[in-house]
Assembly symmetry: C2
Amino acid sequence: MIKIAIDCMGGDEGLAVTIPGTVQVANRYPDTHFLLVGLVDQIEAALERAKPANRSQFEIVSAAEVVTMDDPVEVALRRKKDSSMRVAITCVKDGRADACVSSGNTGALMALSRFILKMLPGIDRPAIATALPNVKGGGTTVLDLGANVDCSAEHLLEFGIMGSALVQAIDHIDAPTVGILNIGQEDIKGNDQVKQAAQLLKSSHLNFYGNVEGDDIFKGTTDVIVCDGFVGNSVLKAIEGTAKMILGQIKLEFKRNPFSRFAALLSMPVFKRLRQRLDNRRYNGAALLGLRGVVFKSHGSADELAFACAVERARGAVASNLLSKIIHSVERSNAIKSQNE
Amino acid sequence: MIKIAIDCMGGDEGLAVTIPGTVQVANRYPDTHFLLVGLVDQIEAALERAKPANRSQFEIVSAAEVVTMDDPVEVALRRKKDSSMRVAITCVKDGRADACVSSGNTGALMALSRFILKMLPGIDRPAIATALPNVKGGGTTVLDLGANVDCSAEHLLEFGIMGSALVQAIDHIDAPTVGILNIGQEDIKGNDQVKQAAQLLKSSHLNFYGNVEGDDIFKGTTDVIVCDGFVGNSVLKAIEGTAKMILGQIKLEFKRNPFSRFAALLSMPVFKRLRQRLDNRRYNGAALLGLRGVVFKSHGSADELAFACAVERARGAVASNLLSKIIHSVERSNAIKSQNE
């Protein structure tokens, strides 16, 4: 039986999203149990409103404090010792839960997870990974998205190992292709760290494709793309900004006059299908990889459907033994390295 | 009188775009002369077809070779000594032209420009800068976009100086705001190099705003955004990829069935206005900054209108004394530095 701890108090909407989102997943997977962490009375009330099919899938775990979006990492680490985020992660540490999902502040979630759970053997740096929709209809998993502002070649290899294991576990792809983000396809491109990382990836057991560029994320050229956290974070925010700007401008233009408003009305089914196709809610749920436990981060602005996706991804990672996949892959990588030495 | 050398043979379409594009600008600015560089006979014929208002604005300069998009930098530098790109840059070096515009291979253009023109005093690294449309209806100038794969804090300060001078010269903004691309707004965010660069920018004479993130490009938070070339190039390609994917999916969905095709027909004026608003052709023309000469790079796939924009930007940079603005700003920066020491 899979057990998932939910930080019910995190995110812009808190319980109004986390509880109904979790109930959706519970109804879909009767084998899964949930530890709902936060203010007991409020969770009770929200759970009743969400009308779960089977109340016995849920256990409420008390936590009196909340880590806010603006809380510095230090506050989450040293001051709010009874926060829902911290208690949820501790449930994983103590073996009460197999995974934890939170929509709280990413920096705090990463710091607390690292502090409480510690790193997996053989992994030096944690990484944040998320999937972005590509034109092939699938998702391209990109990491790191901001846990590390500078990475060595070895760290980029670790990201390749962890990203591959994640895609194997969640998307059930046997030998995911791995690309390294670079500023050109030729081997001579890029800085030293990226060139060295490409060499390490090439001689590893991973299905290494080679250099990819920023637009390959959407082409779906590879299943996994590795990059340092500074680049990954900047690219992710630029992508979000571009999408927001284009869709915002389309809306603006459709609202401009009665004629265009009429065209908008007729175009509604088109935009509905477009929304389904590009719906980034379906890809909500970033994995915090490299830890001795499964931790997923939902977007702070997630709605019910998006939050449910994050919970479902966490559940999938547990069901497919993500952690042992990573450990096994690290061992294979080290064996190859010591052979080559 | 302003004189601009045009590498007529560069870009996907060569003369079919470069000549009519240049003629557009010539007709708009009767004070400007053009050195059309490339295969003489072909240029003669294309110029005749383009029907310039005043033929005496044009002089044809012979160059027998062409640098192709696939030519390695070494070929452009050491082998094709009579390429239209090289001859056009040499016109600037020899004082026959004030600026040069090419849609050829960026790597070759940068290497040749650096080799032939040399760097401006006080500038250590050249940078590629381009403007991207923002929701405020203006452009956000981003640099570096790929000339440097690793940069020190001092290089990022140089980019701030050059980017500000470019925006002053072309957009006629007196004290452009400068942001530094980072993975968060707080001062503690980012890697050492970015943190140090922020300190240098803060104590400089530039109108420094502080940290910005990937989505601020589109918000138009600052006039200039500086970043290292690896990040800038990755972000730029991710933006292009996102825009292409969204617009491609919209097209696909509108073509799906007779009803949606009808909706598309009615929506045409909307998409026409959208195109005008987001038209990146209007922002075509990346500046190669830091050289002892004005060099602009047009997109290889530019059409007439886009190429004309690049030529017009180059003309504007000359008319507003871009180079002396940069030199003056470097001197001010050095004066402040030595005061602080």
